[in-house]
């Protein structure tokens, strides 16, 4: 299974290396948001009780997670493309492990998203945000990014199998990512939220991702917040991946 996943993963990496523009394309939106929201909410930081000195410092982890959501919730589209191109059938008539087909797509998407977030961090740094640019902290943040990428790519693949069409998949993707963003502390600190949103945020996996990335990248490093968030996302990733794989297997027989 590991070898199959590796070979298929290689194939997808090769393809995206050949079309680097395509991967960069989904970066446009987070970068725009970083710039627009960063300027729009500039004065938020002057409000009493705001956790950071400048809004952009606060917002960077939010944009990082946004990049993950936008980047990985497209993964199912590639699966649908492969199905209609007949390449999935080609894999399925071979003795290759069924799980590795989903696994390789999901991993590819997650790795792609890690590369994208690194570019976003670079852009944020150039815009003058003061992040903890310690390689270890960045690595820890990327671990969260990778796991969240796995989770959302898995959801997207699972939905692709259920819906079997691109259009509703894209609509579902948007329907899922935007509210999850707003129901988290990506843009607004917790104490500024109405109480009911705070409750939703407590069960929102995106919130855990945002807060653990923020815990290592912005201000004082808080490894307790980081690791509790990491565990939550790890569980989430495993569950969604298992669901996607079982959906994929369930379709055939």
């Amino acid at each position: 299974m590991i070898a199959d996943t590796w070979h298929l993963f290689n194939k997808y990496m090769k393809i995206s290396m050949r079309m680097p523009l395509w991967s960069l394309f989904s970066l446009v939106q987070p970068l725009l948001w970083l710039f627009i929201f960063g300027s729009l909410f500039q004065n938020f930081a002057h409000l009493p009780g705001f956790p950071t000195d400048s809004y952009i410092d606060y917002f960077v982890p939010g944009v990082v997670i946004m990049t993950v959501l936008f980047g990985s919730s497209w993964s199912g589209v590639s699966l649908l493309r492969e199905i209609s191109a007949g390449t999935v059938d080609k894999m399925l008539v071979s003795p290759a492990s069924r799980s590795s087909i989903v696994l390789s797509l999901v991993l590819h998407s997650a790795v792609q998203v890690v590369a994208q977030t690194l570019i976003v961090l670079l852009a944020a740094w150039m815009l003058g945000s003061s992040l903890n640019v310690n390689p270890i902290y960045i690595l820890l943040a990327m671990l969260v990014v990778l796991l969240l990428g796995v989770a959302f790519a898995a959801i997207s693949n699972g939905l692709a199998i259920m819906l079997q069409r691109e259009e509703p998949l894209i609509i579902m993707g948007n329907m899922m990512t935007l509210p999850l963003m707003f129901f988290s502390t990506a843009m607004v600190p917790k104490q500024f939220m109405p109480e009911w949103i705070q409750y939703i945020a407590m069960i929102n996996p995106v919130e855990y991702a945002v807060s653990s990335v923020r815990a290592v990248l912005v201000g004082e490093v808080d490894l307790v917040v980081y690791s509790s968030g990491l565990i939550a996302i790890l569980v989430f990733a495993i569950a969604t991946l298992a669901w996607a794989i079982s959906a994929f297997k369930g379709l055939r027989d």
Partner: protein, 398 residues
């Protein structure tokens, strides 16, 4: 090599894909499943290649049970799908390499196999180009080469020449034939081209609405329909054609006469021998002929005999939308039902099924006109072959 007994499958949407299929295919045979779109050919192939499940019956491929030993079946078969399963964004070599890896071949073996197959299929030059630059015929060849990488004993070709132009189609036929004669591969192919089943396969099963109507060699099937048909077309100012047809009907060599608009079809035992006799009769009756032609019965006639339909009038592609083909008996049914309903409401969706068929038919009929206008005189061996292959599209059996 392949043994199917009592195989049935119903899609979750209620469409019956195959009904009580019984079939045995021997080693080294080229076997064609001939039928219109939606007849259940692809469904049968999907079951045999472990791509979809089935409800009842048993299927054995290369000595293994499709249901209980799918991985052993997979290891011994190659499959070329209707949609080409090659990745457009990889090169030919990368496609083959990946396929080799998925079959758990060693690196060394993959390399030597790629060399072998690429020279066999004449793909050495474009091997390192992206597949997106390949022609349709090249893609299909690559697809077949990929299916052969692990040296399977059986290959399944689902509509192997669908969407190809005539030249590539004929060249592909040669490759397929060679695979059988030189490598001894057992080949099961589906097609809705009569010519393909006729010229390639040792035996044909005519399949319609999920059921096999008859299995036999193309020759036997054709000879079951006795005799030839001679078609006459008359010059415009000819009047006594009715008397002529009546008079011809009295002759021993004519079994029956049928008018199709202004065309007269004569059913005779031996076309070549009857033509001079018919010409004598027309001269005697002062009937001026515009055109005379004769043809052997084709598989189309056989098809009409067993199914009551012509293969020309292709049925709606029912139950073969890709998601239905893809969705086995497990899930997908509920959703695909919904989509099916939505499909019906929007007439111009997903109806981009290529119609190579029509082009082929057009080509055929134009070709035919030119050969036929020789007014019955010359029927050298070559012309005869052509006629035979061209079929007789405008001849409708009663």
């Amino acid at each position: 090599m392949i043994r199917i007994t009592g195989l049935s499958k119903t899609y979750a949407s209620g469409t019956k894909a195959v009904i009580d299929l019984n079939l045995t295919i021997e080693e080294g045979e080229i076997f064609a499943l001939l039928g219109p779109n939606g007849a259940g050919k692809s469904s049968a192939i999907k079951i045999l290649t472990t791509l979809s499940g089935f409800d009842n019956g048993q299927a054995m491929v290369a000595g293994y049970n499709v249901d209980s030993e799918p991985n052993k079946v997979r290891q011994s078969i190659g499959y070329v799908a209707q949609e080409t399963g090659v990745d457009y964004f990889l090169t030919g070599r990368e496609n083959m390499k990946l396929q080799g890896h998925l079959y758990r071949m060693t690196k060394q073996d993959i390399i030597s196999r790629i060399d072998e197959l690429s020279s066999y299929f004449d793909l050495v030059k474009p091997l390192d180009d992206l597949v997106s630059s390949y022609s349709g015929g090249m893609r299909r060849k690559l697809d077949i080469a990929m299916a052969l990488i692990h040296r399977p004993k059986v290959i399944f070709l689902d509509e192997p020449t669908l969407g190809l132009d005539t030249k590539s189609r004929h060249s592909l036929w040669k490759y397929i034939e060679k695979l059988n004669t030189e490598l001894g591969l057992t080949i099961l192919l589906t097609t809705h081209y009569l010519e393909e089943a006729d010229s390639l396969s040792h035996r044909v099963a005519i399949i319609d609405a999920g059921q096999i109507k008859i299995i036999d060699t193309p020759e036997t099937l054709k000879s079951n329909i006795h005799g030839d048909v001679v078609s006459l077309e008359f010059a415009e100012n000819t009047n006594s054609t009715d008397e002529l047809s009546w008079e011809l009907k009295q002759q021993d060599f004519v079994k029956d006469t049928v008018w199709e608009n202004a065309k007269l079809h004569l059913y005779v035992n031996n076309g070549a021998e009857s033509i001079p006799k018919i010409v004598t009769f027309t001269n005697k009756n002062n009937v001026e002929l515009k055109n005379i032609s004769f043809s052997r019965p084709t598989l189309d006639d056989v098809f009409i005999q067993y199914t009551g339909n012509s293969l020309d009038g292709n049925k709606e592609e029912a139950g073969e939308q890709w998601w239905e083909k893809w969705a086995g008996k497990g899930g997908g049914g509920k959703w695909s039902n919904k989509w099916n309903e939505a499909e019906k409401d929007s007439p111009n969706s997903v109806e981009n099924e290529p119609k190579p068929d029509e082009d082929w038919k057009k080509w055929q009929s134009s070709e035919k006109n030119t050969t036929e206008n020789t007014s019955g005189k010359s029927s050298g061996n070559n012309d005869w072959k052509k006629w035979q292959n061209n079929g007789n599209n405008d001849t409708k059996w009663p």
